[in-house]
Amino acid sequence: MATTYSLEIVTPEGLILNEEITELSVMSESGEIGILANHASTKTKLKASPLKFKKTNGKTEVIAVIGGILEVEKNKAVVLTEFAKKGSDIDEALANQAAEESKAKIQLLSPDASKTDPSLILAEAQLQKELLLLKTARLTKNTI
């Protein structure tokens, strides 16, 4: 039986990752799930979360994904998501700055803007994204 399987992360901007891995851990809607080789066929919704996987050389890597779908079929896992970024590619200082900016924007908007104001929703989404990037960057540091 195979002990490794391939993981692909695909976004509209292209293939982010295509690697042989041994372990994968994702946040689905109902909680964290781990996937080893020879897993049953699965399709599941993902939350915006850091996705962790172990490469064949034993090293763990982290990738931030914002929502999307994971499909596992015949020892091949595919993550379809609108946004994904490798932990090692994240500029922490930049993400921190962007998070602060979004926070300030939300502060500025929240007193009089209604909850459905598009600019408020956008700012909140931006903040969530930057926080996720920060979390992923920190996880990456801890695993190496």
Partner: protein
Amino acid sequence: MASQKEIRVKLASTKKTMKITSAMKLVAAAKVNKMQKILVQARPYATKLNEIFTNLKSALSPDDISGNPLLRSSKTIESVLLVVISSDRGLCGAYNANIIKATNKRIRELQEQKIQIKLITVGRKAKSAFAKDAYQKQGVEILESFINLSSIPTSTEANLIASKAIETFVSGSVSKVELISTRFISLVASEVLTHNFLPIENVTEANKNDSQTILEPSAQSLVETLAPMYTENKIYQALIEATTSELAARMTAMSNATANAKDFIKRLLLSYNKARQASITQEISEIVGGAAALG
């Protein structure tokens, strides 16, 4: 015959024009290369999304389908929303003219069936073409115009356009959404396509060996997540195909313009030399004539 000075001025301005067109050609060529790469990169996502979505959709019961606002089709079609994708800038040959022609054709077809038409335009050219009074009198209404899109379309922009179309469709004010855009075939060929956008229809046949798959939370909820992703991606694909076609069209148009300018310069030079020769000949004959009169 034009005077030497007139020809010289014309020659100088044609040379300048040629410099501009050949520069534009080079720029378009560089950009089209980049866009082609993006087009190739975006393909795996679209293919995979299509595959998963079609498989999941085939697992849905008819009740589930009519329960999903993006899949539900209505029996009678009273009004249709056309999403027209054009470009912001001209100088790209017949690119925009073709889009507008195709849209006009579709508008006429729909009007013959007494169907109301609403429009969402992308790009300055479509906006100015359909903002005319003649269209408003016919009841063709522009709901929104998106202009000044970035030179390389982003998924954020695609999402904005898609969400406007989805919003209009879900609210029930139109019963169908069609997308009119240019498909990129090669650097010298592209075609304008009109495709059904909403409700989402089957594009490819589903392979039905999926019964063993664990679906979490459920097929219905997965389709609910995927349907907006699918529609947004379709717009994104259309945008990048359209941009690539626009650049390819511009490259061809500018290359033709440069060739024409070159031709024109050749002819101008010839007539300039003729005019010069004529004036020299005239001067000589005047001198000779003058000398003869004195002698």
